[in-house]
Amino acid sequence: MNKIFNSIDLTYEIQWVIAIILMILVFATLLFWIWSLIKPSRLVDEMQTRTRSWWVMCFIFVFASIVNPIITYFALGFLSFITLREIYSLLSLREMDRSVLFFCYLSIPIQYFLAFQGYYTLFLIFIPVFMFIIIPFLLVLTGETKDIIRSMCILPTSLMLGVFGISHLALLINFPEMNSNGVSGKALLLFLIFITEANDIMQFVWGKIFGKHKILPKVSPNKTWEGFIGGVISTGIIGYFMGFLTPLNSWQLILLSSTIAIFGFMGDTIMSAVKRDFGVKDMSNAIPGHGGVLDRVDSLSTTASPFFHMIYFIIITS
């Protein structure tokens, strides 16, 4: 037990973030509870289920990120695993792709091991270079060429969505440059997830309140220009106030947070389009009120790697 907790070195900043998260959750729970007492409706019920799920997710996340880093790696790897499983359960893949799927799952431990060891270059090229060649070749080995292009395109791309993006979260934790000169990888991880999820919520809230002009009526009817712009601006502001977690200065913070907001929007719409093509509303019903795990981490899978590389660029050039 001691071993699990001995690495908890809650810095002053991280304690603050946990306190802020708790306050937001308590505030939201009370708000929707009072709202449901005054004026019950379906929207409030949905909000209450969502808030309950947020409690669980925040608890798991905070627990997984403050204990021993090895547990954090396993938790993030498991997140990738569930994401891949959700994608493959919806795709109607060919029967002979089964053996190749095994190698897709196998790339998760390899990728997280590379992140753990901090082999930066190998980590970066393992999926976009090696797996993009190996997986099509393994598909060829099955000997059936009917519909092989579909599998060749889908399987490597699913790795980019489910493994490559999310594993950048793991890379942040003990990457050498991110953990020296007063920079803390864990704080950056918290910052990224906080910003991404705040952006999701802000776009949702702005869209619900002021949404009029649809951006992509065919793909995602809930996304509006008002929600998008409001989300980007408020995420920039939130990022500015959460800046104590990062070594950046004010304009870098605002620019970075707004960029993250835009990337989060991209991930959201990409997954919306994919779901539309599958003909489903949610990827699964793993998280009550939110849908599947991929519905929650869709924006995270596209914000993690841009965030990492922008921060990396800023840190090594400054």
């Binding site: 499983r85 959700e86 359960s89």
Partner: protein
């Protein structure tokens, strides 16, 4: 001793393995609680089916639940027989009724008289996925002899995708196992029993 082995294998290992790794969801599992004796009937497409059902059974009486398997497929060697008996808790029966001394219905009937529960695949063997073949008559004979027993339909959704017929590699896939309510038979005529149980299982398929 046998109970401890079965509890470790199914309630501990398989249940967690299926839940966490494979992504199996148990739906309406509480219907099995507080039922002493029952017959579970399920669609059958894969060897994982038996593991999924056995892992759902409450550990208190798991040693009293016997999957029914065909002796010509599973009872090949002595080792196979011992494994089936102790690790799966299976009862091996013959597929045909030519031999009056080893009649499969009698064998199953005897188990029920000993207050044991059975897991039956009324389709006879692993069929092709998504297509339900006609139920074999053995189920109806068994119910005619024991009209008071509770028959619970179990629908296994997509479990065959984790281990299709003829494959050896288990691959994770989000699937579910759903338990229905005990079937109320219109009468204990042979055809009524068969059609009622088929309808009950097909109702869960939607």
């Amino acid at each position: 001793m046998k109970k401890i082995i079965l509890v470790i294998i199914y309630s501990f290992f398989w249940r967690n393995f299926l839940k966490i790794f494979i992504g199996l969801k148990y739906i309406n599992r509480k219907t099995l609680k507080n039922k002493k004796q029952f017959i579970l009937i399920a669609n059958h497409n894969s060897h994982m089916d038996t593991m999924a059902i056995m892992s759902a059974i409450p550990s208190r009486y798991i040693h009293k639940v016997h999957p029914i398997a065909a002796v010509d497929f599973f009872g090949g060697s002595l080792l196979n027989k011992i494994l089936m008996r102790y690790l799966v808790n299976a009862t091996l029966i013959k597929r045909d009724r030519n031999d009056t001394e080893n009649d499969p219905i009698d064998a199953m009937d005897k188990m029920i008289k000993k207050y044991r529960s059975l897991i039956l695949y009324p389709e006879g063997s692993r069929g092709s996925p998504g297509i339900m073949t006609n139920f074999k008559k053995g189920l109806a004979y068994l119910i005619q002899r024991n009209p008071n027993i509770k028959v619970i339909p179990v629908y296994l959704n997509n479990i065959y995708k984790t281990l299709p017929k003829g494959r050896k590699l288990i691959i994770p896939y989000n699937c579910s196992i759903e338990f229905g309510e005990p079937i109320q038979f219109r009468s204990f005529e042979l055809d009524d029993i068969l059609s009622d149980s088929e309808i009950a299982l097909k109702k869960l398929m939607k």
